[in-house]
Symmetry: C2
Subunit: 296 residues, 2 copies
């Protein structure tokens, strides 16, 4: 797993301290949910210079016009209100992302559906570089879409986002979890338990769909909720119990890890060391394929 701190700089250049903080927070989250660094290499983008070099190399194989057409970039430029003041790094980030994939010679990439244009951009670069090299130095990547849909924000406004304040953190305290579930968007027309309620767009049901181990009971509840017979309190109580049980051990592990930051930093260094070797090897293969001599 790659913690993309350099990419985070493309829209946080005026707050690098936040980027630095989030590297550790993300590593803590990964470890807290049970990712085992003995099985999964966790590494940091800025510790892998081969990715920066691969990005610069790849930028020569894509036009400015092509980057400006990238639907994800277009949407995010709009959402951030960058317009003509879009930082060059932001326009180039699909190439940096492609280099992250290419650098590891990844062929299967777990992404959300909104990231499919990034895989497309990656494969365009792979084909362009292979054509230039006259050889298959790189393999195309395939997207691995999750079967679980993305969880909505608790306000029902788009996806969860810390900065939008509509997320539940993995480190949330029991009180924060309770407050978040209470504030969750359900059906504004469902004022009394006996009123018929809407299930679609109801954030509580979206979470129950994704997390409840007893999906048969969830279906029953949905039926009753639709007809009018189940209050918000009932479904919110069910979800809160579920979230409290789910997050309690994660929070406990996280609390313990926070006390041992030295271990987390060391884990990131070790993982980055492993990733460094892999990415250097890919860079060398690409450079050799293109006929570029290495003087490093």
């Amino acid at each position: 797993m790659l913690i993309a701190d350099l990419q985070a700089m493309t829209d946080n250049a005026s707050d690098p301290a936040k980027v630095a903080r989030n590297v550790l927070e993300m590593a803590l989250d990964y470890l807290a949910v049970g990712i085992d660094p003995a099985l999964t290499t966790i590494c940091v983008q800025s510790a892998l210079p081969a990715l920066a070099e691969m990005t610069l190399l790849s930028l020569n194989y894509v036009s400015v016009a092509r980057l400006e057409r990238n639907p994800t970039v277009k949407e995010e430029i709009r959402a951030r209100g960058f317009e003509r003041d879009v930082p060059a790094g932001f326009l180039c980030y699909p190439v940096a992302q492609a280099a992250d994939i290419i650098g590891f010679a990844a062929t299967l990439v777990p992404v959300g559906a909104d990231q499919l244009p990034m895989i497309e951009q990656t494969n365009e670069l792979v084909r362009r570089i292979n054509r230039q090299a006259g050889d298959s130095v790189l393999a195309e990547a395939e997207a691995m879409l999750s079967v679980a849909p993305r969880l909505p924000g608790i306000d029902g406004q788009g996806k969860m986002s810390k900065s939008a304040g509509n997320a539940i953190a993995l480190a949330a305290t029991p009180d924060e979890i309770r407050a978040a579930v209470r504030a969750m968007f359900t059906d504004p027309g469902h004022l009394r338990a006996t009123d018929p309620g809407r299930v679609d767009g109801n954030v509580v049901f979206a979470y129950l769909d994704a997390l409840d181990p007893d999906q048969a009971e969830v279906e029953e509840l949905k039926g009753a909720y639709r007809c009018g017979g189940v209050g918000d309190a009932v479904i919110k109580r069910r979800l809160e119990d579920l979230l409290q049980a789910l997050l309690e051990p994660i929070r406990a592990r996280r609390t313990q890890l926070v006390r041992d930051r030295g271990y987390v930093v060391e884990m990131l260094r070790a993982g980055s060391g492993v990733a460094h070797a892999v990415t250097q090897q890919t860079l060398r293969r690409v450079r050799d394929g293109l006929g570029l001599t290495s003087f490093a």
Copy 2:
């Protein structure tokens, strides 16, 4: 001295073999004209990952609109006929150039007048990064303009350029030198020695101005040429003798060096090793100044 092979890729992405070849050619030229690697570090850009990282970091501190306004880039995009198909790497190359200067913490940069916008771009980045760091982690750079004007191409059409075929190579044979001087643009209206001739725009005089150790005699010749009394054969003969004497020892050293490519490659590796340490140190200072943690 930095051999900017990655930058050469920004407009030679479809001919990387040429870029690889030119790295060695340039190193041969440097050594042949007498640059002593014991006194001057000669290094290769692609062997210095800190420059790639500094480029990516810096791209976040400049807008796409600012890059598009760069007069040198605008002019070169026009000259190359890139238009909307300009490679992203080409648009970004002023930032890569700035990173080359920043990476060495250079304060004095020898450039041609056409490169002044690059120094301006560099200093904009230096100020932006210092402001972000809240500290002077980088110093501004100053241009060092040569007192000798740029030599024109032998056809009088702009600057010398190998690809335009109007250059005299340092490795040119005596015959090639003779042919180049004979073909030099003088004054198309100066048909007979007795006709008055133009000195301005006359390539032979431009070279004599730049290279002849006896400038008093050159001034005398100019006077006579203007009045009509000196034929092109005379000034061309003088220049040819000068160039033959100037280039003979350079060509001899070059011929010897070509036989020992292993030495040249080793020299570039050693120089790049020295430069690697310097550029890593600057990168570290910038990252520390911005508050970014290093996991490498």
